[in-house]
Subunit: 384 residues, 2 copies
């Protein structure tokens, strides 16, 4: 999560403390059929009731501070159950990485947010099916910097700070999967939850997230399946959601200087805080549960498809556009990279393993390459 604050601080919250972590369960399931990289012990520990409370208590203890308010006792909440810091799984082809990123020399900065334990981050590189795939689970809390608060305000949130300080807590799961085969599309999803404590003690909360697909070549059947699955997840809650969030997705993933979308969209939403926390959470869970059924059938259908060197090359050029979007426009990436103390390797996990830029590459008219470009320039409605 890119949001970090200026100093360690406990945000006391009494209700639904660990509920957003339940979002993980459907997301983690995504990786089971193909990656087998997330040890079940870790997944289980993270989703265990009371985990979050215990992590906080432990962090405070480690810093020699005590929680300003006692954390209410809960059934199943036992200090001995506190899991040790989660080791980062070694990246497949790099011989294993160091868990902590080296601080940038010359930046003179210190971390401004507190990560609860090690982030649960898994990256697969050079796999059989996936060229690069990662999942990043993060829980951060602290004091929002004025810069971060301004960013939120510009998105419509009115926040009353006490002495310029806004305690916050953020948690989320994000994932990008870049397959090897150009007939299998890239998929990205991110679901996140924020809380901010205002001067008068009011808790502002909201959810954000989305799931979107980036094919190298257009397959209409896949596009319809993907959007239909997401629409069904949305429709269970409110028929207005899918059309609204489908358009938001097309608008958000717009590579302005190219006049193209990054992919064929999906759903995207942010700052959602109505009708009620419980209802939005139910909606977000439905979206997260739809990740596996909207994507995995497409992977299974195509990962054995044969492809030509020219098709691989076109995929690499599209990966170049993916890099352009992520580095130039993606709010999370930009914000994260500009925030001292953030974990660069986690933020840039979304970049493909390889990418390519050719000067003035223009596919021939009526080619398969021109067909996908047309859809990226003029988004279609895939389901009605």
């Amino acid at each position: 999560m890119p949001y970090t604050g200026e100093q360690f601080h406990l945000v006391h919250r009494t209700a639904q403390e660990n509920t957003p972590l339940l979002l993980l369960q459907p997301c983690l399931a995504l990786y089971k059929p193909f990656i087998h990289m997330i040890p079940q012990s870790q997944a289980a520990a993270l989703t265990k009731p009371g985990y979050l409370t215990l992590v906080r208590r432990n962090v405070l203890r480690a810093l020699g501070q005590q929680p300003p308010l006692p954390t209410p006792h809960r059934p199943g909440c036992d200090a001995r159950a506190f899991p040790p810091p989660l080791p980062l799984p070694a990246a497949a082809s790099t011989g294993g990485g160091q868990p902590g990123a080296t601080p940038a020399p010359g930046t003179g900065s210190r971390p401004r947010g507190t990560q609860l334990g090690q982030p649960l981050l898994c990256v697969l590189q050079d796999g059989e099916v996936f060229e690069k795939a990662g999942v990043n689970v993060s829980v951060v809390f602290g004091i929002l910097s004025e810069e971060a608060a301004r960013q939120m305000r510009s998105r419509g949130k009115s926040l009353k700070a006490k002495d310029g300080k806004l305690p916050f807590c953020a948690m989320g799961v994000s994932s990008v999967i870049h397959p090897k085969n150009p007939h299998v599309p890239t998929m990205h999803f991110n679901y996140r939850y924020f809380e901010i404590e205002e001067a008068d003690g009011t808790i502002q909360w909201w959810f954000g997230g989305g799931t979107d697909l980036t094919p190298t070549y257009l397959n209409e059947e896949d596009a319809v399946h993907f959007h239909k699955t997401l629409k069904e997840a949305c429709d269970k809650h409110d028929l207005k959601l899918y059309p609204k969030y489908k358009k938001w997705c097309d608008d958000y993933f717009y590579i302005k200087h190219r006049g193209e979308r990054r992919g064929i969209g999906g759903i995207f939403f942010d700052d959602v805080d109505s009708p009620s926390k419980e209802e939005v959470f139910q909606f977000v869970k439905s979206c997260a549960k739809a990740v596996v059924p909207c994507y995995i059938p497409i992977v299974k259908r195509h990962y054995h498809d044969s492809f030509t060197p020219e098709e691989k090359l076109w995929q690499q050029l599209r990966r170049g556009r993916y890099v352009e979007f992520n580095l130039l426009y993606d709010r999370g990436t930009k914000f994260g990279l500009l925030t001292p103390g953030s974990r660069i390797e986690s933020i840039l996990m979304s970049l493909p393993l390889t990418a390519r830029w050719e000067y003035m590459h223009t596919p021939p008219e009526s080619s398969k390459e021109a067909e996908i470009l047309e859809v990226l320039r003029n988004p279609k409605d895939w389901v009605h």
Copy 2:
């Protein structure tokens, strides 16, 4: 050149009208030994005396406007000598590109600057020696947008606008060369000249530019040769210039989120408007003339060196950092991409043909990869 304005306007200047174009001559020479891609006829036309005056007159005529002030007659300035729009040379491996970039649909924007004729842009892809190499010559004039003017002001220029309008003229040459062989470094140079007309008719002018080297592996002899050649070019004008511009280069090409410089530096300067236009121009010409002798001997020394797949892979990872710098930090790239009507393909010509991102790649201690990283993290003085 990224600077564009809001509407067509003639900036009348009476002296040294085409002198900055003379900068081209040493730069064009750089490409002769290896690329043979710039037809001599074009190079000759661009550097012909009176060319700029003639291009302006022709643009005004095409727009049905007349110059507000008559252009003084010059010897050798003959309307019949006006060259036709320069055709864009076809990019080697793309089957030839379209000269005009398609405007981004949905941006609803129009060009805000006027390019004098077609830009002289040459790109080589997949060559024997160079993986991707381009040279871009551009002359633009118009009215500075308030945004662009603000950018300049933030860099220390105080500009008095008339009704919020600042007529400007900008011209420059830029080039990036990404070689195939990982033992041949990437080289970049850019030399540019600006003029802005203030409310009272005062002309503000300044030069900017620089030359810098980005090796995949450190070769101390090459690094010393490169910096020594640049230092000699600077020292002819003022002994203070090289140390100042060497440091400016290390500071500018800093990838903050990585804590690394893009390469081993060179020289970089901006907003230089003293001691006099003629003296600065002489200095810039010396820098431009140094491009060939500082780089070509290094290319010749190494382009036949043998290399392993692992060395090629490390080169690709470094190319990824090059992309990160250019898309996230480079002022010209960012400004150009955000300016409606700018020519995207020219701006992104600087990106490498291919790049790679691996999660948590950390070279082993005391390896050749760690050696270059050390220098990128802690810049060295190569000449004293």
